[in-house]
Amino acid sequence: MADRQQENGQLRLAPESFLAPELINDIQRHGVNESRRKLLRGAFTAAAAVSVAPHLRAGDDPDIVNIPEWSRTLGKPVAANPYGLPSPYESNIIRRQSPGLTQTDQASVAFTPLQNLFGMITPSGLHFERHHQGWVDIDPRRHRLMINGLVESPLVFTMEDLLRFPSVSRIHFLECGANTALEWGNVAVPTVQYSHGMLSASEFTGVPVSLLLERAGYDRQRARYLLAEGADGSSMTRTINLENALDDAIVAYGQNGEMLRPENGYPLRLVVPGVQGVSWVKWLRRLEVGDRPWAAKDEASHYVDLMPDGSHRQYTSIQEAKSVITAPSGGQKLLKQGYYCITGLAWSGRGSVSKVEVSVDGGRNWRVARLEGPVLPKALTRFNFDWTWGGEEALLQSRVTDTSGYTQPTRTQLVAIRGTRSIYHNNAIQTWRVGADGEVHNVQLG
């Protein structure tokens, strides 16, 4: 029986899940008086079925016995939604802002609801948003990509041109360098949506950057860096290591089988696998080949990591291995004791996930979690872990080891080197505390 009610700050199973058969029989014989009704309040369907449909025996599920209306009516026609939409029952599974995080909605963030998602792909409509000066609708017929700098001749491509190139499709994660930034000093947010939700993954389709650079005849002797620039108002720029650009970067137009969503850069964005999201320039209009980094605003004023000695690390780009349990996670509640499948995500900007371990006692003991395939480089990897909760307090953690041999650090280990003010690149092990009441809360240890 899925129907539940919430009362007095608690979530409860619907009454028929609690009622003894004797009481149900009693109600059936003598009807529902005020005290009996109190027990049943809120469970409309069940109460009604029990009181006026006494053919229901104890244990009968009215959602089975009373054939539901969707089983007795003609369904809707094809193409009622020419572009398919999620069920109306999913209307609360949405991107959300963290109130007060930013003073404008154009330079802001909307977080992916990781606690509600499955598998290794983020639905395009739930991909997190991070814009620096708002998002724009670009007419693909009028969009151009320019390649200039240390090349034989500067080139211009239309979208039609780009779609003529041989394409590749790759599944990669996209994580903002500032993901989990709010948690450096102390616990600041209640759920995984806000603590880790600047993280998404898609299958991206497009043209390898290496192919475009070859087409332009880049200067192999002098070229060291690539500047990527957007076509929006901010025309955001980032310097990309040529090593990353030639290895696996893509000028992408496709996302999960369709064109990119406008909020994710329609019609063209740069994909730099393993590198922080700010380098995946959206609404991409230009690539410039150069021999020195550019020190653009978002690599000289922002996205620089402040160290305890007052220096800033510049061009911090790689997203190191990180994992998080997405369910059960902060702000949720275990309704009863027994079996739970702890599930989460792991990823690394330096390769593939080789191992995820889960601890239910705050890191004293670890056991290896199951990796659900496929396990791909620089992609999200789903892990699952069997756990039987006996009602005791628990401290849930996950830690990932990647193919480079790197293991995700604890917050204590990370802060010991980097302090608490660097904003970016917080990949510490996350702890969720499960109370004896089943409530799950975001906590930090030791």
Binding site: A300, G310, H312, K333, G362, R364
Partner: protein, 355 residues
């Protein structure tokens, strides 16, 4: 490129030649074909888009502007967001707050960056003047990017530097002296690229443990959200599926309502009856103003009663259950009406069997 290598030992050389030739032909076909895609950019196109300025000032357009011109433009186009003196934090982080000393300008390291109590400003962080020129030219003003002329950008930058006491108010900033002025940037030596995060093969500065049994760790909880802050991100119960094995906590100060599913579910009888105003007079069981739904359902169970009930609800009536009239409900949406009637008439008629 696929090559079948039967009898490879004796024909290794031959196979190699065949494959190499085929692969070469494909590559040639590809590169010659790809070479036709796209076209050469014109001078005007490059000038329009190639606007980046590097720290060595490659790409900087000629021009100049002074502090006083800059102040005038600032007050007109910039002050609304950044404050008259660039110190506002109302919309964006402050550009300047006066935390820069003569000593900082001399050493090229802003000492206040070591003090966690001091708020960071743009001028405390940015090592390169080119960064500010580039950014203002490409992205400012906030709501009208790329509308400033190069001279205006020089002037604005002169004003900003003067606000930070980095230059005097008689400065005329230009492409001729900007490189020299950059050498006064207070945090010009404050950046490091000596870290493992620039390259995929970089050396990590922190690494986790491999201990997996009886590890010595401090498991004392040192930080958690205070209860009053739990609702700062809205009611968490609304942010998780309420039918999942771990629904969201009810953190709203408002009294708890039915399930989220019920709230979103317009097919739930409880919601339909309540939203349609029926529960003003009817309750689930027992007479209120009108008869209880239990009694209505018992009397009208069966599809054959649907038409009668529908017209009764829409048109109202009196006398069936007592003297109190049922008001007509003509505004009821037909979909909702149908669902209510389906629910009212869908009760098994096996009353009494249990007792």
């Amino acid at each position: 490129m696929r090559c079948t290598m039967f009898n490879w030992a004796s024909t290794l050389l031959g196979v190699g030649i065949v494959c190499g030739a085929a692969a070469g032909a494909l590559a040639a076909e590809r590169s010659s074909g790809l070479g036709e895609i796209g076209r050469i950019a014109t001078e005007a196109e490059l000038k329009a888009w190639d606007i980046d300025v590097r720290p060595d000032f490659m790409g900087l357009p000629p021009g100049s502007g002074d502090v006083w011109q800059g102040e005038e433009i600032w007050l007109e186009k910039c002050a609304a967001c950044h404050g008259d003196f660039g110190d506002s934090n109302e919309i964006f982080a402050p550009i300047v707050l006066g935390n820069i000393t003569e000593q900082d300008i001399a050493t090229g390291r802003v000492a206040a960056l070591e003090d966690p109590a001091v708020a960071r400003t743009t001028l405390m962080k940015v090592a390169t003047l080119s960064t500010l020129w580039d950014y203002i030219y490409r992205a400012m003003p906030w709501n009208a990017p790329k509308t400033l002329s190069p001279d205006e950008v020089y002037a604005l930058l002169a004003y900003i530097l003067n606000l930070g006491y980095i230059v005097d108010d008689d400065l005329v900033l230009s492409d001729a002296n900007i490189e020299e002025i950059q050498l006064r940037m207070p945090n010009r030596n404050g950046m490091t690229q000596e870290h493992g995060l620039w390259s995929v093969t970089g050396e990590p500065d922190v690494n986790g443990d491999s201990c997996d049994t009886a590890c010595e760790v401090d498991v004392a909880v040192t930080s958690s959200l205070p209860g009053y802050a739990l609702n700062a991100h809205g009611n968490l119960a609304e942010q998780v599926r309420d039918w999942s094995p771990y629904p969201g906590l009810w953190t709203s100060p408002e009294p708890m309502t039915g399930t989220q599913a019920a709230a979103a579910d317009d097919t739930s009888p409880e919601t339909l009856l309540s939203q349609s105003g029926c529960t003003a007079c009817h309750q689930m069981a027992g007479q209120l103003v009108g008869p209880g739904f239990d009694a209505i359902r018992a009397r009208y169970a069966g599809e054959e009663n649907a038409a009668y009930l529908s017209q009764k609800i829409v048109n109202g009536g009196a006398g069936v259950w007592g003297a109190m009239p049922m008001p007509p409900m003509p505004g009821l949406n037909s979909d909702t009406l149908e669902r209510i009637v389906v629910w009212l008439t869908t009760v098994s008629d096996q009353t009494g069997e249990e007792s």
